[in-house]
Structure formats: structure tokens, C-alpha cells
């Protein structure tokens, strides 16, 4: 496969590994946008990355930065800066990552599923949604020109078990959400934190597209929770993520169409419409079905 010529897609930072995956004794090979790359740690514990040629020889170096406990790289010149997420520097937060999960579909579909509240009650039944309360209440989408981000704000959804720390109460609650689309293939949500009135957990989804229809998903989180163990928090998130994985891998076509997903959009579709529009106006083609005649 050749690397994409989609300049918007090239000019982004992408997660490529967690720091602890890069060990001094061996190199770590992975793929970014169909380009094979190699990460290694030198004698001074510095991490470097190279593009790999067909014969596995190391070619030009590519930059590596560490943010949100995750290593990011880019194949483009002057990439769009990584987002500012203040919660990751707050002292009382627990920074937890859930590993990287493989999902064989377009990165656009993964972002769209993350934004979609309507799937909670069908896909995460009795956890993030309840079959008898499937309503998506009205919310707003906003464009933030200073950061070129799309936000969906004032979102609410009734959740039987909104988080690991909410499980203890044994009763559901109205969870409040905001979503931020951070770049074409990364998104995060803020979700009301149990026992911390007025504050929100920050849960990110950064996608490493291996190819247009094959991705690794990284989910660093900055969580407010002083009751649950780390293992329990990870277990909760991973279980949800695997439920999404099944749905996502079954969506056809794997490349996402840019046309609205239903002819009569519902409330839940508002953020998806905003996302698709923004992808189009940003010139993204990667992961999308090509539009005939345009």
C-alpha cells in the first residue's frame, strides 16, 4: 500500500505506541497510514522513530512526542498541534490507559460511534443505557474556530451504570456529557464524575490508522475516582470498548460515506452530521468513500 496523499490526514499527530511498549533491548515496528515505521529507545532512553523501506531498512526519521502518557508521531510537515486537555495536568486525577485495541474499520466510523448516544441502550445495555429509556435529549453542536474543533455540549443520557464508581450506588443516573472532536481521527468526552459535583472525567480516543480500514485505538483517561481500583476501571472501559468493536466491525461499507447516515436525521445524528461536514470542509478523504463526480 502507498501512503495516502491526503494532506489533511498527513498533517496530524497520531498515537503510535505507549511509552512502555518501547524497550531498550528491541525495536517496535508498527504501521501508520500504510507507512511502516520503527520505534526504538537509545542508550539515553530517548525514543526515536524511522520510516521503514520495503526491505525493512530504516529511512528518514519522523518526530516523536509524548503526551497524555502516549507516544505520538506524524508523517506530515507542520502538523496540526496536539490538543490542550487541561484535565491531564490536574493533581487529583488518575491518568489511566486501557491499552490499544484493534478495530478493523475506518477511523471515521470509530469516531462517529464514539459520538453517538443513540447506541448506548442497544450496544451497552444495562451499563451505559437502558432499553426503557432510549431517548437522546436535545443538545447543541458548536464550532470553535480558535482550535478548529467541533464540540457537542449539554448532552444528557440516562445510564444504569455510568462508570465504575457509579456502580456502587446500584441505581441509574442522568449522565451529563460534552464531546470534543480534536482532529479528524481523535475525539474525547467529558462525563460527569460520580462523587465530584460539577467536575467531569476526561476520556480520550486517539486512533492510529494502520490503513483506511484497520485501526488501533488508544484511550488515555484522566479520571476522578478514589474508590475503584485501576484494574476495575480498565475492565469497565475495555468491556464497553469490545462491545463497540463488534458493532463497528460489522458496519458496511467499511469506508464511511459522507452523506448523512439516515434520510430523516434524529437528534442523535446531529453530532455525526457536524463531524461529516467538518471532515469534508477540512478536505479529509482518508477512511471515506470517494464521492462520485466531485
Amino acid at each position: 500500500m502507498t501512503v495516502t496523499s491526503d494532506m489533511t490526514t498527513l498533517r496530524q499527530w497520531y498515537p503510535v505506541a505507549y511509552p512502555n511498549q518501547i524497550r531498550p533491548e528491541s525495536t517496535y515496528d508498527t504501521t501508520l497510514l500504510d507507512q511502516r515505521i520503527r520505534l526504538s529507545r537509545d542508550d539515553h532512553s530517548q525514543i526515536t522513530a524511522h520510516r521503514l523501506a520495503d526491505d525493512n531498512s530504516e529511512m528518514a526519521t519522523i518526530p516523536i512526542v509524548q503526551r497524555f502518557d502516549t507516544l505520538f508521531s506524524t508523517l506530515g510537515d507542520s502538523p496540526r498541534p496536539l490538543p490542550q486537555i487541561a484535565e491531564f495536568s490536574e493533581d487529583d486525577r488518575r491518568i489511566i490507559h486501557c491499552g490499544s485495541f484493534r478495530v478493523r474499520t475506518s477511523p471515521c466510523r470509530i469516531v462517529e460511534n464514539f459520538l453517538d448516544m443513540a447506541h448506548f441502550c442497544f450496544v451497552h445495555t444495562d451499563v451505559l443505557g437502558s432499553i426503557d429509556r432510549p431517548e437522546v435529549l436535545s443538545y447543541k453542536t458548536e464550532y470553535h474556530p480558535e482550535t478548529d474543533e467541533i464540540w457537542a455540549v449539554d448532552c444528557q443520557f440516562f445510564q444504569p451504570t455510568a462508570s465504575k464508581s457509579a456502580a456502587a450506588s446500584g441505581q441509574g443516573l442522568m449522565a451529563h456529557y460534552s464531546y470534543r472532536i480534536l482532529s479528524p481521527f481523535s475525539v474525547m468526552l467529558y462525563k460527569s464524575a460520580m462523587n465530584f459535583a460539577g467536575r467531569f472525567d476526561a476520556i480520550c480516543l486517539f486512533i492510529q490508522p494502520l490503513s483506511e480500514t484497520d485501526c488501533l485505538c488508544y484511550m488515555p483517561m484522566a479520571i476522578l475516582d478514589n474508590v475503584s481500583t485501576k484494574t476495575d476501571i480498565i475492565d469497565f472501559q475495555q468491556s464497553i470498548f469490545v462491545q463497540d468493536g463488534i458493532i463497528l466491525e460489522n458496519q458496511r461499507p467499511k469506508l464511511m460515506p459522507l452523506t448523512p447516515r439516515s434520510e430523516t436525521p434524529t437528534r442523535a445524528d446531529l453530532s455525526s452530521i457536524a463531524y461529516r461536514r467538518w471532515l469534508k470542509s477540512s478536505g479529509v478523504r482518508f477512511g471515506l468513500q470517494s464521492v462520485e463526480g466531485s
Partner: protein
């Protein structure tokens, strides 16, 4: 001092044990293990418990067991007075169950070796061809059984052979093996899901 299961939610082998404990309505304590990304099962503390560095582990007082098939056998033998999950009086039935347990612990693993986790984790890569072969063998067995009017792998009622085979058979769909070609397997999985006290795991939808 009760039953204690060292568990990881996304592990099919741990799920086998949770299934049987659920069918028998037994109380047990879960010890969550940070399998991924923490790789806690490869740390010295866990290696003291299981030198193979694998889940699940069951503890029952002073008994400590590894290997989901062995654990299923232990629980059935000890806690199922009706002996319906592991009929052990009939030599043929008993050893056929052993045969299918071995199949679940060896051949069938290829059908679902969990692709959920990225390549750096310790899950082995799925071997789709070998997995399909194993599913074909299971489908043939179920076809033969259904010609004789039976829905389960061995005998007239479900046994631990069915429990041992269910997770990887069901997960194989998620891993990308199409079940179209295995009609008897699909019927069997549907019947299995309808058993009283059936539990799901992430990756295995409640209805299919």
C-alpha cells in the same frame, strides 16, 4: 473461605469458569487481574500463583487449579450433586467429555485467539484456517448429534464439554470467521444462550 476466581473480563477461558459458576448459582469471589495492558499475569506475584503466567486460576480453600478445563471438571465434580454437567458413571460419556475438553483447550483455541488486543500483548495471533478447521469438526459433531435428536456435544443435556467449547466458538465470529458455513454450530449456540442463568461476556452478544 469460598471459591476465588482470578479473572480478566475479556478472557474466554475465564468466561468458561464464570459460565459454570453461574449455571450452578455458586457464590464466588473475583480477583481482578490487570491482564492488559498491565500484564499482571507475568509479574512475579502472579507467577508464584501460576508459573505458566496464565488465567484463569481457581482457588477453593487449599486447592489451587489452573487450566479452565481442569477447573470446570473440579467444579462440576464437587458442586453439582446431580452430576449432569459431568456425568461420570458412564465410561463412554465421561471420556467423550474429556475428549471435547481437550479439543476446546487445544484445537479450538485457534478460532478465537483474542484479536481484541494489539500485537504487543501476549494473546497469540488467531490462526483463521486452523480455527475454521476446528469449527468444521465441531459443526460435524453437532450435525451428527442432531440427526440422533440431540442438541448437545455429548449426551442428552448440556455438559462442561459445551461450556468449554462455547466461548471460542462464539468469539470466532467477532474475530472474523463467518458462521454462515456452520449451521449446526449456530443452532447449538442459540440453544446454549437460552440455558437458564446464561451469562454473556464482552464480545459475545446476548442474542445472535
Amino acid at each position: 473461605m469460598g471459591l476465588k476466581l482470578y479473572n480478566y473480563g475479556l478472557s474466554g477461558n475465564c468466561y468458561k469458569v464464570r459460565l459454570l459458576l453461574g449455571f450452578l448459582k455458586l457464590d464466588y469471589e473475583i480477583v481482578p487481574v490487570d491482564f492488559y495492558p498491565g500484564l499482571e499475569h507475568k509479574q512475579p506475584d502472579f507467577l508464584d500463583i501460576n508459573p505458566l503466567g496464565q488465567l484463569p486460576i481457581l482457588e477453593d480453600g487449599r486447592v489451587r487449579l489452573r487450566d479452565s478445563q481442569a477447573i470446570l471438571s473440579y467444579i462440576a465434580k464437587k458442586y453439582d450433586p446431580s452430576a449432569s454437567w459431568l456425568p461420570d458413571r458412564d465410561a463412554t460419556k465421561f471420556s467423550q467429555i474429556m475428549m471435547w475438553l481437550a479439543f476446546a483447550g487445544n484445537n479450538l483455541v485457534a478460532a478465537a485467539a483474542d484479536r481484541l488486543v494489539d500485537s504487543s500483548a501476549t494473546f497469540s495471533a488467531p490462526e483463521i484456517d486452523k480455527g475454521r478447521q476446528a469449527l468444521t469438526i465441531l459443526d460435524d459433531q453437532l450435525a451428527e448429534r442432531s440427526m440422533m435428536g440431540h442438541s448437545w456435544i455429548v449426551g442428552e443435556t448440556p455438559t462442561i464439554a459445551d461450556i468449554a467449547c462455547f466461548p471460542d466458538a462464539a468469539l470466532s465470529n467477532y474475530v472474523g470467521i463467518d458462521h454462515e458455513a456452520f449451521p449446526h454450530l449456530r443452532n447449538w449456540m442459540r440453544d446454549f444462550r437460552r440455558l437458564p442463568n446464561f451469562l454473556t461476556m464482552p464480545g459475545i452478544p446476548e442474542f445472535a
